[in-house]
Symmetry: C4
Subunit: 384 residues, 4 copies
């Protein structure tokens, strides 16, 4: 038998003091204390009126679990395997860019926490540390690479090749950010960390990108950052382009940002191995459907055998299990681990991960299920 | 290709500081700071318990957008044309009276912002600047005239003739304010700016109105203001009167204030070229249906070919798009630009307009649509 | 044509300052300032968790009006006639006991305000002034008498006879208070004003009641008050008793406190001329259905010709009209006038009444209806 | 006729001051004042985001009672009998462990209050006072014993035998706590009172448990506490084990923690005499269905003759009656009496009990019912 949530719990109680916050609200509050408003709001905020951020949370609150008793759950298995990558718990770390604004260790701190816990990291192409640095920090631990599909195919391919060479075992193509969303918190402060050279590591280290510059980034950070940002807008992309990308790599390919059943079907037709239902944490289309609601539609469209992940609104073990019951093969954890990083670097991220594993394991046990994969919609109450 | 939302966004980030608020809440808060309570509440408040004001906003929050990905939206067109008047974005500036209480430049400031952005202005007949002054400020820029249908037909017709002569290309007849609503904020302060001569410009400058007075307004403002107010109550009007008005002008005629399908049909029968679904921003009938809900009913009644606009609750790009998806040909922006005027005069209004255009454009692009007119009800999620 | 809401409005604006609060919230806040916590909470509070108080208000907020435009409403008639009693507006003043705790003038102040406005008063049998004093204060103005059906039939009959003799034209029998509800605010302060002799006027002045006492109330107020309270519990009553009471008086008889259709039918069978749907302002059964929701059930049961009134949650003109549209022949106004009394005595009550009349009239006009009695359920939007 | 709610009410009013809080909110607030954060949050808090705690309360707020008038309710009977145990009111005191953290008198204080009022106590196996001490404090007063089914069958049986010998007339087996829930408030403070020897009375006094220890608890409290806690995790249990336990005792056996109809059926098949629908006050599975909603499902599954109790969210008389109307034979009162204990020891608990009895009795009378057992679903309004 694997991970035991009760051991995490016991260790805290026996120690007589908790070194870390426990509730999601407290983590966020602590992060707000340690960060300047610019970085904090960049992480915490969303698009427009932030209605989609609220909707993501409300969709979990609205749904209710139906626990079974005396189901014999002493032996449990929280692990999932998604497209050949195993996680000891039914979640991965979502790609989040520019984590140097949360903590100097940035994605390397996160990577070490991921490796220490075995939970796969999806490294962002807008990270503050390079594909190679993160790979080195993780050793053999499982990792995927997230691609912002920039408008320069050679740069995009270069990033993919580097990920392949560095042991990343999955490619997550984000399709919901072909231009940046309208984010009032950031705009009000004119805070865009990339302009200060933060979150540019993949590009500044990329030979193809560097070949596009007149001067190396080391000599003119602003010009390089502007050049990088200029590669992001790519709204001309279509599903046919995805088929092309599919042909460029042997890595399992997941499309992140799907919110409709028909788009999920298009992704599959274009050769994607899986989809990640997501509204980018409410940071792109304000007023978009809640991720959990979209998950139901996507799973209905693709049927039981497709690989479907989701993110948006995961704050505790109950959320993980609700998403699994409604059709997710696994979920991605986002802001909570960024707060963990802000509060405590690698150790903070580890605490967030271990707490969520423990909460998920305990809740699964108390729910009367032995495997995360046992849950289906009969475990969710009809809304009342 | 036309307007690019990303350019507005980029300009703010690159400048390193935003000269203006971004979120609707922040604009309102800033306006509350710069204005005295009387003017601020006159603009911000509504009728009775303000339940309809809340309903207008809730109707948008309740509905959710269903974005499509990889739809190839690099080329977009935000523009709409309504009854021969083109707007670069699917909104116009709603008629708001007595804007001198928000800023000394009043409607002239707004008019210059409208002209600068190309967004049409619907000038109020309760404005602080005359039809002619506003026309001069706008040059060839598109504008309509809003008529409070006063109980003196000759005065009403005189206003219409002046609008015709001054290049206004549409006539918006407001039918929901044949007497003033019961507005607790204003009543509690006994604040009615017209009594101080504010918002009387169209009448004080009107030869027919002046001919009704014993003394010119310049000599007895209060008497003239009272005389003007005395022309407003006109509850005897019926749809037959509208047919008469229809016969008096060649201008496209829109009826503003429709909340029922059957009234929309009556407006069409009486010769109106279009209707504007509106509850006057919740300022007239407290407890009335949300404008967005009424829009659905009106569009259902009139069918796809009728010209249907709406106002009430538009605060961001997602709201614009939701209204379009639910049947509006365009929307009218109200309080937000009045707050812009209060905070920064013409420049403030321009900022509000450009931000909304950018937000709408970016959201449209991220939604997977190329034209504002592409949206229909399949883009809205069934409520959950 | 009768009352003109616009005149009330104009008078306030022209005066340049409002002597009174306007919104219901402000009246309540001002009352809370001028009253001690005991009296204020006695008036403002309810039973248990006050869930029914909240439900009463929520039932109005949930429903939305559907205004019609250009319906020709210059001539309106707000008046209603209920069982031979005419009111200039579709509301009456609900029976509220012990108003001396709100203002020294108590029910006499209210009575004078009622007489001045023509709105009928339903005098409570727990009032601080006698049937005769109130009658004298009202002259010919319309009034009904409310009976708490005490457990001493001779006392009850004596009160009825006095009401008959003093020109009260209707008898309202309250059936929802056969014992006092569980009211945490009052219990926490052990505040029951009757024990101090407040609200005992009908009994202390009643010859039959006095004949039951060993000492007159003037000599031992506490003993008399306790004796009075001892007559209140009367839970043995059944509908057969109502038939008996029906036989004792020629006055129109209304049963107040009905919340079910079947009870409304029983009331009619027992000879009642009308019912008042009410949950006693949420002061008796905590968790009971909202009065407005019960109104729908009761009207459905009794059909269009029965006399059905309601109270509970009326705070503005929109509420009056919603209740009329959902089946009420008239409504009763409760707490708002008690706050008016607290804030300004008779003049405060008059202000509350005139404001509500004006608000109702203006809202009716703007709704596109000419008579309060024109409204039916087609004026209410299906909830969304 | 039995208990009279009005007498409790009268006594408070006549005394002229209330020695105790009345509303549930005030009791909780007072408890928060007198307790340290550790103990208070241990009692007040729940699992995860506390969504189930909120759901428990919301399920009551959402449902509305439909009172009947003039039903002749002078004679009432609040009493219920459940599996041979009579309560003067339709509730029992729920098992709550470790009450020494609320007040030095702990469960003995509660037991005396239970005995004084006749309301049965379900003594927790995690209590601070022994089975025998509590029995002695209660004399002949009715009591049940709650069993945390620890992973050492001999210890569990020993506890059952002691309960049998000490006059406990029912055995409540809790099946929802086979491991401890994830409770952020406690974890954040690393507060687990058992580690300080609190709440260990049943075990430290148990001969079988003591035989397992190397040193008696008196010499090494921590080691004994850890040993006790080690007996709690028992997730291997299945319904077959319940059948075994059923065979070990003649006591009526109730299964506490059922949230699904199918589990209720399994409990019956395994020989349980009754079920208690409960989510452990929201302390175990965060996001679980509200207890009141689960009650409806369980009663539907088991039919009208089964014994079904519930707890979770009972705060006032209306809640008791709503649960009865929706299918409960009786309810269990939890946190409110713990707050009573914290605020006033035995007297505080008695006050809470008597207040709830009075509130329930008065509300029943005003509802138009004579017996708590008269209510069924026709007394609940369809949600609107």
């Amino acid at each position: 038998m694997g991970f035991e949530g009760g051991q995490v719990q016991n260790a805290i109680y026996v120690a007589g003091e908790s070194p870390w916050p426990i509730s999601a609200a407290e983590w966020e509050a602590r992060a707000a204390e340690v960060l300047e408003p610019g970085p904090f709001d960049y992480i915490a905020g969303g698009a427009g009126s932030e209605a989609t951020m609220r909707a993501n949370l409300e969709a979990f609150e609205r749904r209710r679990l139906r626990p079974r008793m005396l189901a014999g759950t002493a032996e449990r298995d929280l692990a999932v395997e998604v497209l050949g990558t195993r996680s000891p718990a039914p979640f991965l770390l979502a790609p989040i860019g520019v984590l140097s604004i949360a903590h100097p260790d940035g994605e390397v701190g996160v990577a070490r926490a991921a490796a220490a816990t075995g939970v796969p990291l999806v490294l962002s192409s807008a990270a503050s540390h390079t594909i190679e640095e993160v790979a080195e920090a993780m050793g053999d631990a499982p990792r995927w690479f997230q691609l912002y599909w920039v408008n320069d195919r050679e740069i995009a391919l270069s990033l993919v090749r580097r990920a392949e060479s560095s042991g990343y075992r999955g490619l997550v193509v984000t399709v919901d950010t072909l231009t940046l969303g309208w984010r009032p918190r950031d705009l009000a402060k004119a805070y865009l960390p990339f302009l200060a050279g933060e979150g540019c590591a993949q590009f500044f280290s990329d030979p193809v990108f560097r070949s596009r510059l007149e001067q190396p980034p080391e000599e003119d950070v602003l010009a390089a950052a502007v050049a990088m940002l200029a590669t992001f807008p790519n709204l001309a992309l279509t599903w046919e382009d995805l088929a092309w990308l599919r042909g460029q790599t042997e890595l399992p390919l997941l499309v992140k940002g799907v919110l409709r059943g028909e788009d999920a079907a298009l992704a599959r037709e274009a050769g994607a191995d899986g989809v990640i239902v997501s509204n980018h944490g409410g940071r792109q289309v304000d007023g978009a459907v809640a991720a959990l609601d979209a998950l139901v539609e996507v799973r209905d469209e693709l049927g039981p055998d497709a690989v479907v992940l989701m993110d948006g609104g995961i704050r505790g073990g109950a959320d993980v299990l609700k998403a699994l019951a409604l059709g997710a093969d696994a979920v991605l954890l986002g802001r909570p681990y960024a707060y963990g990083l802000a509060v405590g670097g690698q150790e903070g991220v580890e605490a967030v991960i271990r707490h969520l594993m423990a909460d998920t394991d305990i809740t699964l046990a108390l729910m009367g299920a032995r495997r995360a994969t046992d849950l289906d919609r009969t475990w969710i109450a009809a809304s009342s």
